[in-house]
């Protein structure tokens, strides 16, 4: 069986966690992910505006992002730079999903106008109510996925500004830690040793 050899194509598989991630798991491409990081770095350096998301869509997505990861005593998603992250995703590794996002955003704005205003101009609780009506859609699942990536991926991808996303959950990126690691370690002296088994 000397099989023919079609030209190589890009791989498109990814691995997620060892548990199901519901609808959140998306196929990403490493080359495009890394290209997005480079583009985001250049954009952040130059403080240039979004290039792949127009201002109208940006207002919608920014408001949706702040519904998903709202401001509390810490920054919300938009202040963490999630739009810059999503801008790179739109032009690269998530380009395939962008029609879904664009269509979903248009639908959301139509629902918002029926409620009296553009989505971003609605009161926070009104926005919440509207999003609850679309929270099972591929649009919302995809945006939810991107917002969380934008909050917690390495800052070089454009989001997680100044590592503040990580700081919000208590994560600190280091190459080495020393025991004791947490509150409970002291119960066995923090050394672990051989236990008393």
């Amino acid at each position: 069986m000397n099989r023919s050899r079609p030209s190589a194509t890009r791989r498109h598989f990814i691995v997620g966690s060892s548990v199901a991630l519901g609808g959140a798991l998306m196929g990403l491409n490493l080359g495009q992910v890394l290209a997005a990081a480079e583009a985001a770095r250049e954009m952040l350096d130059s403080e240039s505006p979004l290039v792949n998301i127009d201002s109208e869509l940006a207002r919608t997505l920014s408001a949706v992002a702040d519904q998903i990861w709202p401001q509390d005593d810490t920054l919300g998603a938009s202040e963490l730079g999630v739009l810059a992250f999503m801008d790179q995703a739109a032009g690269g590794f998530m380009a395939g999903a962008w029609p879904t996002i664009q269509a979903g955003a248009t639908d959301l704005e139509q629902r918002a106008l029926a409620a009296g205003s553009a989505f971003h101009a609605l009161a926070f609780d009104q926005q919440t109510e509207l999003l609850e009506s679309v929270q099972s859609t591929p649009f919302f699942g995809t945006v939810h996925f991107l917002v969380l990536l934008g909050c917690f991926a390495m800052p070089r991808y454009g989001g997680n500004r100044n590592q503040q996303g990580w700081a919000q959950i208590g994560f600190e990126q280091r190459h080495a830690w020393q025991p004791p690691f947490g509150h409970y370690d002291g119960a066995v002296g923090g050394e672990g040793g051989h236990g008393d088994a």
Partner: protein, 558 residues
């Protein structure tokens, strides 16, 4: 990618003593043992030759984009169906059904390093418990006692940290390294288990607690599961066996080499191994003997693809069992939050285990056994923590969601139950009849549905896990649903070992029953699944196989 210097270089047209297909847990051991025994060896590995400088903490780049698990040069998806009556489907993205790493060192690069020995019962459970109708429930052709010296060799050759537990099987030497420092999930597992009268013990792991053979100890960075180790503290074959194989001057590691066929001569012996390089160009390496160590999915795929006039149903497949009896181990998860910070995202995955439920117990009403461990699981890294906070359910969002994600990252632990898998013929790896990858290779098609007893054991361990978390004082617990699994990182049993050519693919020395110069040694060799954590057993088999294969070669008996 920095390619290590040195090593041999062989011409493809001259037959080498051995071609080894795969450089993972088994292939790495075989490469080192056979080259140190004086044989010329070429190792063909489809992934690139990464080193520690290529590994980092980039969750998006390394993990979500499948840096380690995707094919390095082209699309090579897989298809899955739960039952032979179904049409298999290809996932449009997400976790491949057969999950493994494509990199020199294989899955030993990205695993979390849990190194449990099997026990004597695992090798003879069929005799002890009797037959199970409609299954491939069988004894091994070898015993624990025969494998014990090789378990010890693995622990000392690669570096395993641990301490003997109350239920451990007999061993000829202690662990070479003391256990890793305990972390919050280990402490709480231990406290909860003891309160219930159970017997927790330090987890044996292939990760260094102290400097060992020129490698530094673990730095506790937390990026273990799914990541390569930037410290070289994880005892992968990449940093243990492979460098020692290369140092012999008789072993060439040939990365980015994807095998698509093993050629058979008119004499019924294998003669050369055909592969594609990174550009897709064809090559063929001649060999006096071939060892397939490509993992429990890729090994049967390759054998089935290597059919010929002499072997119309696939190479070495006279039994019809190549690809059959796939076992993945069952897994169940329960999560808990605690009042104070564990910071379980630091350090390795597992520091304490509970093996009280390892053996079969007729009182449970079903067959099976398993182990429990405390660990962060996927909550060790920020993105996965946020995405899985709902326990795999629908997306959560908003103020309460943010509060829970913020609260939970440092206060979370999980308890993972790992179980037996009943070997079933319906669970298998076959060639997808309708789909090919970019180079015309039929896709891996997995057919798998956990046996009802496996699911019952998963649920049983989840119940015990909940009791432990409650006893340890968890403020909130929640369960991942126990449902038939649709992907597997443990790829076991698909070329099972046995004395009878009618009911097994390889003999007790890993030689295929039908082709004298073809050996198969990896997870596919296992006859039973153990209770999770199969890598130590796979490597013990590889050390043992290498010893016998070298002996055969010296005697001219190949």
């Amino acid at each position: 990618m920095v390619m290590p210097e040195g090593g041999a270089s062989f011409a493809t047209r001259e037959p080498v003593d051995f071609v080894i297909i795969g450089s993972g847990a088994a292939g790495g051991v075989l490469a080192r043992e056979l080259s140190q025994a004086g044989f010329d060896v070429v190792v063909l590995e489809q992934g690139p030759w990464r080193t520690a400088v290529d590994f980092g903490h980039d969750e998006l780049g390394h993990f979500f984009a499948g840096d380690l698990t995707g094919h390095p040069s082209w699309s090579d998806p897989q298809s899955f169906r739960a039952d032979p009556s179904e049409e298999a489907t290809v996932s449009g993205g997400g976790i491949p059904a057969a999950l493994y790493a494509r990199t020199v060192g294989g899955a030993s690069v990205h695993f979390s390093g849990n190194y449990w020995r099997m026990r004597p019962v695992d090798f003879q459970e069929r005799s002890l418990l009797g037959p199970m109708a409609g299954t491939g429930f069988s004894d091994w052709p070898i015993t624990y006692e025969e494998l014990e010296p090789y378990y010890t060799r693995v622990e000392h050759e690669v570096g395993v940290s641990g301490a003997v537990g109350p239920f451990d099987p007999p061993r000829s030497k202690p662990y070479p390294l003391p256990p890793m420092p305990v972390k919050g999930s280990g402490v709480l597992l231990e406290q909860g288990a003891r309160a219930l009268g159970l017997h927790p013990q330090p987890a044996p792991v292939a990760i260094l607690s102290q400097p060992y053979r020129g490698r530094p100890p673990c730095g506790h960075c937390g990026f273990c599961l799914g990541f390569g180790c930037e410290m070289n503290a994880k005892s992968s074959t990449l940093v243990t066996m492979i460098p020692e194989a290369v140092a012999t001057g008789r072993c060439e590691i040939r990365p980015l080499s994807t095998v698509y066929r093993i050629e058979t001569g008119d004499d019924g012996r294998v003669s050369e191994v055909a592969y594609l390089d990174a550009s897709g160009a064809q090559h063929a390496q001649k060999a006096k003997a071939v060892v397939v160590a490509a993992n429990g999915a890729e090994t049967p795929r390759l054998l089935l693809m290597s059919e010929s006039a002499s072997f119309p149903d696939g190479l070495a497949n006279g039994s019809g069992l190549v690809g059959k009896y796939l076992m993945g181990n069952g897994h169940s998860v329960i999560h808990g939050y605690f009042e104070h910070e564990l910071n379980d995202w630091k350090s390795i995955q597992v520091t304490r285990i509970v093996h009280d439920f390892y053996e079969n117990d007729p009182a449970r009403g079903f067959y099976g056994g398993g182990g429990l461990d405390g660990r962060p699981l996927v909550n060790a890294t920020p993105i996965l923590h946020a995405l899985t906070e709902a326990g795999g359910g629908p997306p959560r969002w908003g103020r309460d969601f943010k509060r829970d994600v913020r609260h939970g990252f440092s206060r979370h632990m999980g308890i993972l139950g790992s179980t037996t898998s009943v070997p079933l013929e319906r669970n298998n790896i076959s060639l997808d009849p309708a789909r090919e990858d970019a180079h015309g290779r039929p896709l891996v098609r997995m057919t798998y549905r956990d046996h009802d007893d496996d699911l019952a054991m998963m649920k049983f361990l989840q119940d015990r896990g909940e009791e432990i978390l409650d006893a340890a004082g968890a403020t909130r617990t929640w369960r991942e649903p126990v449902v038939p699994q649709r992907f597997h990182a443990h790829l076991l049993g698909t070329c099972r070992m046995g004395d009878d050519p009618a009911t097994s693919v390889v003999d007790r020395y890993h030689r295929s029953h039908e082709v004298p110069n073809l050996f198969i040694c990896d997870g596919s060799s296992l006859v039973s699944s153990g209770r999770g954590q199969p890598t130590l057993t796979i490597q013990a088999l590889a050390f043992r196989a290498a010893e016998h294969i070298a002996g055969f070669a010296r005697q001219g008996d190949i």
